[in-house]
């Protein structure tokens, strides 16, 4: 049975490195309830020793990440040991010691905007963006490829647009059955396109065309 071998504190709590105090606390509560001896999912999976070890690790993760000083040292250690590439610039001054301040300031919209602008100046990224927009039909894969090329993370889009990650993922993974009605979808696609700095109308038209074709293909098969 693998325990938490090789996982860092963020991975143990399943949170991004940019998480706020509230997010860490929620993740901590979730983890405790998941590995609790009464949890229907895990009660039969671990021995008492294994469970105690796991709970200890979770508690260590929580106490380290909710202490600004300890967290900064820990993050630096992750960088120094090469476990993460670099600290996201916006993280540096944004550890929130006061839990009452907003949790959404972590992602800086301006910084995302300038990062995308910068990326789009690179020739290969520009070419990719142009090629994708020239397509008559756009799939989630196209959007995902472009998002990765301009180095924007799903969570950043979620923070800026307030669209849930599950919907964003469903869009990118072409899980059409999971998507909201068209009216909402249009507005979501528009927000998404704006962050990637591409023509929203083309994205909406292209994506909806893909959906309607997929539906047609589905309908033409016998029910």
């Amino acid at each position: 049975m693998k325990k938490f071998d090789g996982l860092n504190y963020y991975e143990i709590l399943k949170i991004p490195m940019t998480s706020s105090y509230f997010e860490i606390k929620r993740a901590y509560k979730d983890a405790l309830s998941l590995y609790n001896e009464d949890s229907i999912v895990t009660y039969s999976l671990f021995s008492k020793e294994e469970r105690d070890q796991i709970i200890d690790d979770i508690k260590d993760a929580f106490s380290t990440l909710t202490d600004d000083q300890k967290r900064a040292t820990y993050d630096q250690m992750l960088v120094d040991s090469g476990q993460v590439e670099t600290l996201i610039p916006s993280m540096e001054k944004q550890y929130i010691s006061n839990p009452l301040s907003s949790t959404h300031t972590r992602v800086n919209e301006k910084q995302v905007y300038s990062r995308v602008t910068e990326k789009l100046l690179m020739e290969d990224v520009k070419t990719l963006s142009d090629e994708i927009l020239l397509k008559e039909r756009l799939s989630g894969d196209d959007l995902k490829k472009l998002r990765k090329a301009v180095d924007v993370k799903i969570l950043e889009i979620q923070h800026i647009t307030k669209i849930s990650t599950s919907i964003l993922t469903a869009i990118e993974e072409n899980q059409f059955e999971e998507l909201p009605p068209d009216t909402y979808l249009r507005s979501f696609l528009k927000s998404y396109a704006k962050i990637l700095q591409i023509d929203p109308q083309k994205v909406i038209d292209g994506y909806l065309k893909t959906i309607s074709l997929a539906k047609k293909a589905d309908d033409s098969n016998p029910k």
Partner: protein
């Protein structure tokens, strides 16, 4: 090459045969050529779920060589594109299959010229069930959202690992200490997956090899008989825990809602999805079938959120 999906999962009565029949019918409707093989040896009744009388031709014909190959043992069902290899007319003691016969069946399954082969396995973790499950690198685990069933699913995964490791040890040279791990392990109370840790300590050269072999497995999970009062995220929790603490890839295919009419359908020998095509459970089944043939990519592999 056919996609082979063994359908198993520890506990009896969780709906393995029902799901096999339903998924088979749905996949066949999408124009794929599907064969269901009833490998619940000695307790086969897949034909009844499909609304058929027990077919005369089946696994028995293959074993006693009245048909040339396993393909010829498949009989058409009432559903176009859907075929069945039944084990109903096999001799009475078929449950205790000879090892050579089992290998012959497994070998023949891998050669079947169909798009999809679904294996309906028996409950429990006896060698037949395990070896049939190991026919493919991808298998489907059926579970109900109850402690007993979840417990058995873990046991099933562990036993699959254990069986696979033993198979590998037969073929590869391992430190003799591990030649008969069962005796060692039973005494020391080590769980089967811990055998990797044990091998590590003594034979670290094999670590990567063992891990790689186990990481080639893909388990797909289905929660059946899902009632409204159960936490809807249970399936994802289960999948996450497995991905974290076992050595393979786990994908959650979805929940199938509980519906008492499923029993009515079985009584009337009409496939539920045909009798009640517009119910929640039928929609759940359809979604899962679509995920299996990758019409909808699953939501559940997504580790890449950051």
């Amino acid at each position: 090459m056919a996609k082979i999906y063994p359908i198993g999962g520890g506990k009896g009565g969780v709906g393995k045969s029902f799901i096999t029949a339903s998924l088979g019918a749905l996949i066949a409707k999408w124009g794929k050529k599907v064969v269901l093989i009833d490998l619940d040896l000695g307790a086969s009744n897949l034909h009844t779920l499909l609304g058929m009388n027990s077919p005369k031709i089946g696994l028995n014909s293959f074993l006693n060589k009245t048909v040339k190959n396993l393909e010829n043992a498949a009989v058409p069902t009432m559903i176009p594109n859907l075929f069945l290899i039944s084990s109903f007319h096999c001799y009475m003691e078929i449950a205790n299959l000879f090892y050579a016969q089992k290998l012959k069946i497994i070998d023949a399954i891998k050669q079947l010229p169909f798009d999809y082969v679904l294996l309906d396995l028996g409950p429990g973790t006896n060698f037949n069930t395990l070896d049939f499950f190991l026919t493919s690198k991808e298998g489907i685990l059926i579970c109900t959202p109850e402690p007993t069933s979840i417990e058995n699913s873990f046991r099933f995964i562990k036993t699959i690992y254990f069986r696979k490791l033993k198979q590998m040890m037969k073929k590869n040279t391992f430190d003799s200490v591990f030649k008969d791990p069962s005796s060692d392990l039973n005494g020391s109370g080590i769980n089967p997956p811990d055998i990797i840790e044990v091998v590590l300590k003594h034979d670290s050269g094999k670590e990567t090899f063992l891990r790689n072999t186990l990481s080639e497995f893909k388990f797909k999970l289905i929660f059946n008989q899902f009632r409204n009062n159960v936490d809807a995220t249970l399936g994802d929790q289960f999948k996450d825990i497995c991905n974290r603490h076992f050595y393979s890839i786990f994908q959650f295919l979805g929940n199938i809602s509980y519906d008492s009419r499923i029993h009515d359908a079985i009584f009337s020998k009409i496939l539920y999805i045909h009798k009640y095509p517009h119910t929640q459970s039928a929609a759940d089944l359809k979604k899962i079938a679509a995920r299996i043939i990758s019409k909808i990519p699953s939501a559940s592999f997504g580790k890449d959120m950051l």
